[in-house]
Symmetry: C2
Subunit: 116 residues, 2 copies
DNA sequence: CGAATTCGTTTCGGGACCGTATCATTACGC
DNA sequence: GCGTAATGATACGGTCCCGAAACGAATTCG
């Protein structure tokens, strides 16, 4: 069953979720950081700096710095690749999984509240 | 017909839209700016700085600065209220309406592409 | 081996944004 | 009028982020 969404509903949904995120006191990740985080949690591993940079069409330092910030928040973790020690593999964390899960729940909740 | 969205679909949707916004070259508004813009275009007028600040639960300078930036992008316009010249009324613009409309279309398109 | 390549990080200069406090202007009660 | 309240704008100090360039470490290839 495909997801049916009219433009006005789509915009309302986005507004409600943005409002919820702005109002809560949690650290709000930027659009780029959120895109990176969701990619790590939704796309199949392994994830590398270069791979993420290509997927998002941004430069590598953007990824490095986003990982610094999200790593400090324990949302992701970095590990050297033993097969090619130049690579850094980005992995999920328990905290990150929880964060993403809650975020998904917020979207679903706001979608259910949408006026018809 | 309520909007039905499972968590995994919600997250995928958010990821795809974030990716689309990050990848396009257009100015990317922050989460707050987007929340303000959508509120201006979705909620009934009139809109004032104070009203928006209350609705978003942020301080007034946040609104003023966001309006500065979005005003420079021609997405909104400011006008003095003739009935109470302390007030500033925020109004829509043609460019802003186009921006919002196009944004809604992106969300709808990404929703339709979601895997089941 | 040694040079070139690849990967992730760091540095640098600059811009965007925030929160607090303060300001100028306008409205309103006395 | 005059003081007070309200509105939006501004000043200041600080944090975060960006893009470009340069860098160190690891790998590949001649």
């Amino acid at each position: 069953m495909p997801v049916v969404l009219r433009p006005i509903q789509a915009l309302r949904l986005w507004q409600q979720v943005c409002l919820a995120e702005v109002q809560n006191e949690l650290p709000d990740l930027g659009e780029r950081q959120l895109a990176i985080l969701l990619t790590i949690y939704l796309d199949p591993p392994p994830h590398t700096v270069r791979g993420l940079a290509q997927k998002l069409n941004v430069t590598k330092p953007v990824i490095t710095r986003a990982l610094d910030r999200m790593g400090a928040l324990k949302l992701v973790s970095r590990h050297r690749d033993d097969h090619d020690r130049r690579n850094v593999l980005i992995r999920r964390t328990v905290e990150g999984a929880l964060f993403v899960e809650r975020f998904g729940d917020v979207i679903v909740a706001k979608a259910e509240e949408l006026p018809l």
